[in-house]
């Protein structure tokens, strides 16, 4: 835009960027406090590896007809683990549909995840994090929920925080923006995390928005925005911790953009070769979060080949148990469809329930 003759700045802004470990797992510029304990970093590492192994298994189950459509988080594990590990148990997570990393950390079980993606609502009846939200399929619609959850906490003067994760595609939805704007206006204790994996199915980030960063979308709502290296779990954890504590201490909402990459198909129903080449993808394998943290831990003497072997074996075992439990779960009662619709079945629906029960008992 050309300059007018009488001008001053009405406002100016900056969007910080945060990263610690480079792609080789080296921390040139020092590390934040949380990284002092390699024990903690090993916990994060284990969680990322478990997620990756679980995803691999889930995809295999889908390929063999034992699971429905599934969205792997391959390459993005640092986002979910970094964010969830910054939360307290009493905080509330509102995930998208690709946040098994965060959900597992929060205590959702692998069996529950499999049940859900296997087409069984009982998978969203988490026995662990009872207040966390289930997977959200309609993109971006979870953001307003997170504002409501955070606002409920605020109105009750509870020192809790609502944490919501969505994708780069989700930032184009009106729901995202309306939620951000209300969170800013009401100073809601909510942290918005964008897992920017470069793609919304076949639509690359550049075709999603002309904004240089997604973090700057925070400016529209008058809240702070920060971009982090989403393949650096330390950076994600650090930024998430700061934003969560900022929210907890009454300073309101933050938007974090975690820049990562979707290394595999959008879901098992997708064929990414239709819209991107191996050459597009392969450089990103050099940036992925697990090798990076492993390199760092190994260099610090906190991780060994043996530990790796043992971890893989342990993950496989846990996953196998979960899969067995999943596969052995008897089908739900068809009447559940009506029985859980309202707290108690409204009289007008009694006939339908009876007819359904009769129908199922005949041919069931």
């Amino acid at each position: 835009m050309p300059e007018a003759s009488a001008r001053r700045d009405a406002a100016s802004f900056r969007i910080p960027y945060c990263s610690y470990l480079d792609a080789h797992g080296r921390a040139a510029g020092g590390l934040p406090d949380l990284a002092r304990s390699t024990d903690e970093l090993v916990r994060l590492y284990r969680a990322m590896v478990l997620t990756r192994a679980f995803d691999e298994k889930a995809v295999a189950l889908q390929r063999t007809g034992r699971l429905g459509t599934y969205a792997s988080a391959l390459g993005q594990e640092a986002v979910g683990v970094g964010v969830a590990s910054a939360m307290r148990p009493e905080d509330v997570l509102l995930p998208s549909f690709r946040e098994q990393a965060a959900m597992l950390w929060r205590g959702v079980t692998m069996t529950e995840l499999l049940l859900y993606w296997g087409g069984d609502e009982r998978g969203s009846d988490f026995k662990g994090p009872r207040s966390d939200f289930p997977v959200c399929i309609p993109v971006g619609t979870q953001f307003p929920h997170a504002v409501g959850v955070g606002m409920a906490m605020k109105l009750r003067r509870e020192p809790r925080v609502s944490v919501v994760i969505g994708g780069d595609g989700a930032t184009s939805k009106g729901d995202f923006y309306e939620a951000l704007n209300i969170a800013g206006t009401w100073q809601v204790p909510v942290v918005f995390v964008i897992a920017n994996n470069g793609w919304a199915i076949s639509v690359p980030r550049a075709a999603q928005t002309a904004a240089e960063t997604l973090a700057q979308k925070a400016i529209a709502a008058g809240i702070p925005g920060e971009q982090v290296d989403g393949n650096d779990v330390i950076a994600v954890r650090d930024a998430a911790s700061r934003a969560i504590e900022r929210a907890r201490s009454g300073h309101g909402a933050t938007l974090i953009e975690a820049v990562t990459y979707r290394l595999t198909d959008h879901t098992t129903a997708d064929d990414a070769r239709r819209y991107r080449t191996d050459a597009d993808v392969s450089p990103h394998w050099k940036e992925e979060p697990i090798a990076r943290l492993r390199a760092y831990l190994a260099a610090e003497g906190a991780w060994t080949k043996d530990a790796e072997t043992a971890l893989i074996a342990a993950c496989r075992k846990d996953i196998d148990v979960a899969v067995e439990t999943y596969l052995a779960t008897p089908p739900p009662a068809p009447t559940d469809m009506l029985d859980f619709l309202f707290e108690s079945l409204p009289t007008p629906l009694a006939d339908q329930r009876a007819a359904l029960a009769a129908r199922e008992s005949t041919h069931g």
Binding site: V92, L94, E121, R122, S124, D125, F126, R130, S131, F133, P134, P138, T141, F143, P144, H145, A146, V147, G148, V149, G150, M151, A152, M153, L155, R156, S162, G174, D175, E178, A179, N181, I182, T185, W186, D336, M337, F340, L341, F342, E343, P346, T347, P348, L349
Partner: protein, 326 residues
């Protein structure tokens, strides 16, 4: 006990539930200092403070969506959408989330929210301010849809709606907001949410309506009575889940059924009711079912509003018509 209007009854019920239950909060555009554009939340801010009565930014999708979050987290939000025509952007959140949260988590989370909106025509309002949107919500399983037609009903039904453990869409016929007064006892008693109200008994013909059209149906019944035709008048104030049994019982007696609503004919909720009659009371029918409804066109601007809206005369004429079948 003073006589109050329907909109005052809404305010009374809100104040009562807010008094009784600290988890009830009110939100929406202009619900605070302004007390709502129809004054439905008048005085609530002063009485309950800004934590519980909150103006929202102008964002209907988020008003619904934020309410889902509030409700899931233990509050009882009562959200106001300023007019019927601005409820459309809430459908996504209501259908994809509010209505499903309980069942999709198999009871772990729930959504005890109320979405209130003034609705319908008859007050010569601007464009998009007179739509009848009940069917959009009544077709969403998991939502209750409630439409009062009198101050007492507004009070009792709104109390029950707010106390209900599941989401309720509460549509207030704005044409009746100030046109009827009646004594309403602030006794904290809710009215049931899954039964029709039989407002007039009659053995000749069953008139079925809700909202502002219910008043037209009552007027039609009075006309008909003067001609010796005894019309039963059934108020489907709790549209969904639909209590068809009250309607069917009456039609089994009268054998004649006239349904009135303001919404366009095609796909309107009158179709559902006519269908129930055709399925379950066919053998009692002495005459074709008749619907007296808005036209299958966009709600017109005020100059043609009178040509769009059904009237008592039209309902009476339809009743006479079905009475002519023997």
């Amino acid at each position: 006990m003073a006589e109050i209007t329907l909109v005052e009854a809404v305010t009374l019920a809100l104040a009562r539930t807010m008094q009784d239950d600290p988890s009830v909060i009110v939100l929406g555009e202009d619900v605070g200092r302004d007390g709502g554009v129809f004054r439905a939340t008048d005085g609530l801010l002063a009485r309950f403070g800004p934590d519980r009565v909150r103006d929202t930014p102008l964002a209907e999708t988020a008003i619904a969506g934020v309410s889902v979050g509030l409700a899931a987290c233990g509050l009882r939000p009562v959200a106001e959408i300023q007019f019927d025509g601005f409820t459309y952007p809430t459908i996504d959140q209501m259908a994809n989330h509010a209505a499903r949260l309980r069942t999709r988590t198999r009871g772990r989370l729930s959504c005890p929210m109320v979405l209130r909106a003034p609705y319908g025509g008859g007050i010569h309002a601007p464009e998009h301010h007179s739509d009848s949107v009940e069917t959009f919500f009544a077709h969403v399983p998991g939502l209750r849809v409630v439409i009062p037609s009198s101050p007492r009903q507004a009070y009792g039904l709104l109390l029950s709606a707010v106390r209900d453990p599941d989401p309720v869409v509460f549509l207030e016929p704005k044409r009746l907001y100030r046109s009827v007064r009646e004594e309403v006892a602030d006794d904290g008693r809710g009215l049931p949410l899954d039964t029709c109200f039989t407002l007039r008994e009659g053995g000749d013909v069953t008139l079925v309506a809700w909202g502002a059209m219910l008043r037209e149906a009552l007027a039609a019944a009075a006309q008909l009575a003067s001609e010796g035709i005894e019309a039963a008048v059934i108020d489907v104030a709790t549209l969904a889940p639909l209590d068809a049994s009250s309607i069917l019982r009456s039609v089994e007696i009268t054998g004649r059924c006239v349904i009135a609503h303001e919404a366009p004919l095609t796909g309107g909720f009158g179709g559902e009711i006519a269908a129930r009659v055709a399925e379950h009371a066919l053998l009692s029918l002495l005459a074709p079912v008749r619907r007296v409804t808005g036209l299958d066109c966009v709600m017109p601007l005020p100059r043609l509003e009178g040509s769009y809206l059904p009237t008592a005369d039209m309902i009476a004429a339809a009743a006479r018509d079905v009475m002519s079948h023997r």
